[in-house]
Symmetry: C2
Subunit: 442 residues, 2 copies
């Protein structure tokens, strides 16, 4: 590894001669001094040199300005990869309160083109399509990479919480033999000459694995051939799935989900604090018990005549929860059977309603979950009730032929979570290389 310190570590080396390495974030030549701001994975570091007298030429490439140069172009261009060696000096105006003086610069790799927009400006001066078309370079902008750091920290918290609760991580097939789960919006693939499909979720596999490990989770891609072009749908997204057995009903699943959401936020706070500050993200508090309303009550509150809640009604309910319960999270429980997949466990005390729930966060449906059926005969009956043949489901139903405990689980879409947390209006803003109806590259 090249010998270097990170930008964030400069203060620890005050008075010493050290090397930082990274990308030229910004070069500025003023009347009597020049600045070179270097970006590395930890942040920014500033090197400064006076022009008069000219800085000495270092052994590995020279000072900030060439001997006779005076134009900004004498400084290495933005995005050039450099190693800058200098003496660490305190300067309250510099990023992190320290800068490098008497610097010498070594160019590690040239850059061949100007970025499509200035990465050094505090704001992103580019429209979303420009950002997405140039993702490999655009994501270097601190404001665009920050949400991805927050996403990574959230996933780490998801796993950490579930590991602590005795869950086991699994990896399940993304290529499946039948398009059973929703029937629509699946991608077809040519599987050695046979038709197959990309999995829309690990639903059936995570349920089967409850029979093996009792408690399982998976973080992985899921695929939806979503024909609508909206700000919250992607053709591929990262699904955070969990499933657990030996529950009494869906409320045990909700209790685990509460722990998971709290653990994700705690991890974001701990691991991505810099990104949180940079974006000005206000992290929500998770109440010890997240308030819950039954679907019928939610309908009454929003005067909804439909057996479903509209996005506007979800927003209204979130505001209501904030107002009435001081919570940015709200469970809506008991969705009607007609609005839930066939594997959803009915509410034994309320015909027509389920033990299924959604978790709303800041006006958006963030998580869907619930108790599932666990008896083979109940599956056969549920499919018959929907006029479906069990044939295509045999692989799925197999697990239930052998004793399966009462169980349930949930799925959280990572991009939706990150968008809502960071205030991004479009999930594409927080996805490195989104896939949708129109976009297949880069």
């Amino acid at each position: 590894m090249i010998s270097r310190v990170l930008s964030a570590e400069l203060a620890e080396h005050a008075g010493q001669r050290v090397t930082v390495a990274g990308w030229v974030h910004r070069r500025r030549r003023l009347k009597s001094v020049s600045f070179l701001v270097v970006r590395d994975r930890a942040g920014l570091a500033q090197a400064v040199t006076a022009h008069d007298p000219p800085s000495e030429v270092g052994p590995s490439g020279g000072g900030l300005s060439s001997a006779n140069g005076s134009a900004e172009s004498d400084l290495p261009a933005e995005e050039t990869v450099v190693a800058v060696t200098g003496t660490v000096a305190a300067n309250p105006q510099a990023p992190g309160g320290h800068e490098l003086v008497e610097p010498s610069i070594e160019v590690l790799a040239e850059t061949g083109a100007a970025p499509p927009f200035d990465l050094y400006r505090p704001a992103v001066n580019a429209a979303l399509p420009t950002v997405l078309d140039h993702a490999p370079v655009a994501l270097r902008h601190p404001l665009l990479r920050a949400p991805l750091e927050i996403a990574a920290a959230g996933v780490a918290g998801f796993r950490e919480t579930l590991d602590r609760l005795g869950f086991t991580e699994i990896h399940t097939p993304k290529i499946v033999g039948s398009a059973t789960e929703s029937g629509a919006n699946v991608f077809a693939i040519d599987y050695f000459g046979r038709p197959a499909y990309l999995a829309q979720s690990p639903q059936f596999y995570k349920q089967a694995m409850v029979g093996v490990f009792e408690r399982v989770y998976e973080v992985g891609p899921v695929f939806r051939a979503e024909p609508h072009d909206t700000v919250r749908h992607l053709a591929q997204y990262t699904s955070l799935d969990a499933e657990l057995g030996f529950i009494r009903d869906h409320r045990d699943v909700m209790a685990v989900l509460r722990e998971v959401v709290a653990g994700m936020l705690e991890s974001v706070r701990r691991r991505a604090g810099h990104a949180v500050s940079l974006l000005g993200v206000r992290l929500p508090e998770v109440p010890a018990e997240i308030p819950a309303v039954h679907f019928t009550e939610a309908q009454r509150l929003t005067s909804s005549p439909e057996p479903d809640l509209s996005p506007a009604q979800e927003r209204w309910l979130s505001e209501w929860a904030e107002r009435e319960h001081g919570s940015e999270f709200l469970f809506v429980t008991g969705y009607p059977m007609s609005k839930r997949p066939f594997y959803t466990h009915p509410d034994p005390e309320r015909p027509g309603y389920t033990n299924g729930f959604d978790l709303l966060f800041r006006g958006l449906e963030l998580v869907t979950g619930g108790q599932r059926l666990h008896r083979y005969d109940d599956y056969v009956r549920a499919l018959a009730d929907r006029g479906e043949d069990t044939g295509p489901y045999e692989g799925y139903l197999q697990a239930f032929r052998y004793g399966m405990p009462p169980h349930g689980g949930f799925a959280l879409g990572l991009e939706r979570w990150t968008a809502k947390l960071t205030g991004a209006a479009n999930v594409r803003q927080v996805t490195a290389f989104p896939r949708d109806l129109h976009r297949l590259t880069p």
Copy 2:
């Protein structure tokens, strides 16, 4: 959650009346006593009852035998889901040294069929196709679930090590617009009426993200339309990918890989100790520096006339490393250009050879890695040398138009690693629901 203790916690509750819950692993009725062995996620617990006098009928369903029964069939069948409440008593013969006496049993869920082979027998008395066809129930066998526990622990160690080294986790597209990486063995998909392909690796994306985060990793599925039916190839497998910038050359990547492998093994030891014991796995030691031989030296040692190493030669080299260096791991470095992808960095001092490496473990190529090209012009030249047009690679090459540091990385196949570690002859034995030329279900 139902109120219970785990089988492994019985000793902590000696003398108390507790409930364990799980699956009936085995029922046995002897002349004067009956045993019911319950399997939960932590292991096995035994409940025992004497027949004379008959056990009392508990409030929630009765003793181990019905009042007038004497047949084994009076005990709940294997795989029935039960909660057994009893008093914890020491018994050196019982699993974990304690058992439940004066038990009463509550059936939580019936089972509808006998498993395809006896899950309670110490060995797996079934051929691999039977196991795979019945994976949802077969994987409940302790010997078949143990490798999946070891896999999960290994992945946790992979992440833990890289998190410590400042890497950021990423999630990249599995649907790509062109079949560029190897050109062959890709799955074609219908992407909203346009042709697209399943990604064979996150190679291009992880390289691009070095420009954003310097150090990245991804754990995710990769897809190979592998037309050969072998014991070490799957159509989908879990790839553990890492990539890092600011390296001097491939040796820096090898140093990180050494840490990763050591961290994975440490995690297996810590998190999956029970599975390791059950399978009788001998975990290897990782030397402080893993021995390395240059490809030309490996050729000389194995008298290989070909510009590649055969599986037999890899096995020989592993034995040699064990004999000469006391190491079960061996790096082979400097593979010829002709045997490496176009993005591989050449060895600047040895024309025709690369800064690419393989890591052999117990005779098998476990990891492939190396330094990559980092200059745009070098990519254009490398493609031209292979007679390829840059057109289909434009999305990939974009990252290199803007300064990219010297970088490299590696990919480790989770299933191969787990198979080699556990001594499984076939990767399918350590994959929950494998996909191959013939298998698309369950």
